[in-house]
Symmetry: C2
Subunit: 284 residues, 2 copies
């Protein structure tokens, strides 16, 4: 089992280092890139090394990799758009999208997505990813649950983002496993026998289970999954390609930081949110 | 015209403050939320105040707001999925998607998106947003350009993310205006008479023009647009709802930070990238 406190410390160190570097380099212009390419040393250039996969020895960074994203009516676009953008850019990696009946799905806010395949038509996948949504009634139905459980049982890596963790947990596959989830729903994981962890990225069983927190956490989640399965350099390439150098204008990304009146706005819309127990259609 | 250096300094201050706060609060658990809601003072709780709109007095935070996202074959999902997720959550705000012929579009990597409306069927919009893509041949066609120019001319706010700025600039509407763009393409803005600015968020003419850098910059861009048009509290609410509390695992989000060998990988795929002059289909 992953040591949670160690993970936390390591995240903190990496993030802090990243920002110090940005502080130093912030005012450099794109014109300095020639110098960088020419090998001029920049302060703190060495990148941190994250633990790589390989203890299971199941997937080398160049083996073909299949990643399946489970879609459903009521899902949230950004939960999987972040991971999708990262996974598509990895070497020798095939990203597929599937829903119960195939075709298009109608996401939150009426956004129409896909062409998706039929879940039943997919024999197996290396990685299954269940994103979250504003309405989980569809993926909580027995037919969806059976397909997700079948594919999770044979997958090398079982993953979720946001309250997609609740969908996964409801299949029973997360029993006794540590999992992340959107902060407003994280404590509901207990109701399905999973262990709620209020972090942005969580892994258990040496990476067989990996999960991200709410919505945008899917980006950080996917970069870690990418590093584990395709190597750190491939993950760094992807981060650079999608210019993931975040600079949020406000301190409002998590209840630890947000102003009380802003947390109260979410609580009004999602009663129970600040206890991690927000109600959502499809979840008892 | 916006003072660029001042913007930069202000960004830096906000980001740094945000991270200090996270450092302090990182180890608090979701269980502390009760205390937060009860009004217990936390260190550094006051949020920064960004400049609000209103100098033009065109849109008050409660006036109905129409935002149009321009879609096209070859576009990049995450360029607009970030903004879309934010804009849909704003009060009294209607988000529409449109392409030249309506119906669905086939994005980068074969991702199918929409139900979109026909551009010609939209009389006008308050905000037009042009996202970027891996192939700009479609939106550079005269019919697309004419529709984008028509809608931009009557829009209160003309905006873009990533190399969507090139599409917008090609219409002529950004002549003499400062604009952001994906780092690999930013200097191509000059070819269309716009002024390249290698920042994550750029505004000109007091917010009539607003733009974001590459792909994920759309999230930071949209939070700033949200604050300007709907008020800071609405923007903070959205940031909390999508748990935008980023923690990238690597220092690789911008050429200022990335390792030379990683920058070289992008240069190999996109020749000219490190000079901000990557070639892309559809752009001369």
């Amino acid at each position: 089992m992953t040591d949670h406190s160690e993970n936390n410390v390591s995240d903190e160190r990496l993030t802090r280092a990243g920002h110090s570097r940005r502080d130093i380099l912030k005012f450099g212009s794109i014109a300095t890139l020639g110098a960088v390419l020419g090998g001029v040393a920049l302060p703190g250039r060495a990148a941190p090394v994250l633990a790589q996969a390989g203890s299971e020895g199941e997937l080398a960074p160049n083996d073909p990799l299949d990643i399946l994203i489970v879609n459903y009516d009521g899902g949230t676009l950004l939960d999987f758009a972040g991971p999708s953008e990262i996974f598509h850019r990895l070497p020798n990696t095939n990203v597929r999208y599937a829903s119960l009946n195939g075709g298009s799905v109608t996401l939150e806010f009426g956004v129409v997505y896909g062409k998706t395949e039929r879940l039943a038509d997919i024999e197996k996948t290396d990685v299954i990813l269940v994103p979250g949504g504003s309405n989980l009634a569809a993926p909580m139905r027995p037919e969806y649950q059976a397909q997700i459980r079948r594919l999770a049982d044979s997958a090398k890596h079982v993953t979720s983002v946001c309250n997609g963790s609740l969908v996964l947990a409801a299949t029973g596959v997360l029993k006794g496993k540590r999992s992340a989830c959107h902060w407003a729903f994280v404590n509901k994981l207990s109701e399905y026998g999973a262990i709620p962890v209020p972090d942005r990225f969580v892994e258990d069983d040496n990476g067989r289970f990996m999960s991200g927190g709410g919505v945008t956490a899917g980006i950080d989640f996917a970069l870690r999954v990418a590093a584990k399965l395709r190597g750190q350099q491939a993950a760094e390439f992807t981060q650079l390609a999608i210019e993931y150098d975040p600079a949020p204008p406000f301190h409002s990304g998590h209840p630890r930081d947000a102003r009380p009146e802003v947390i109260a706005m979410v609580d009004k819309e999602l009663p129970g949110a600040s206890r991690g127990l927000a109600r959502i259609p499809g979840v008892r």
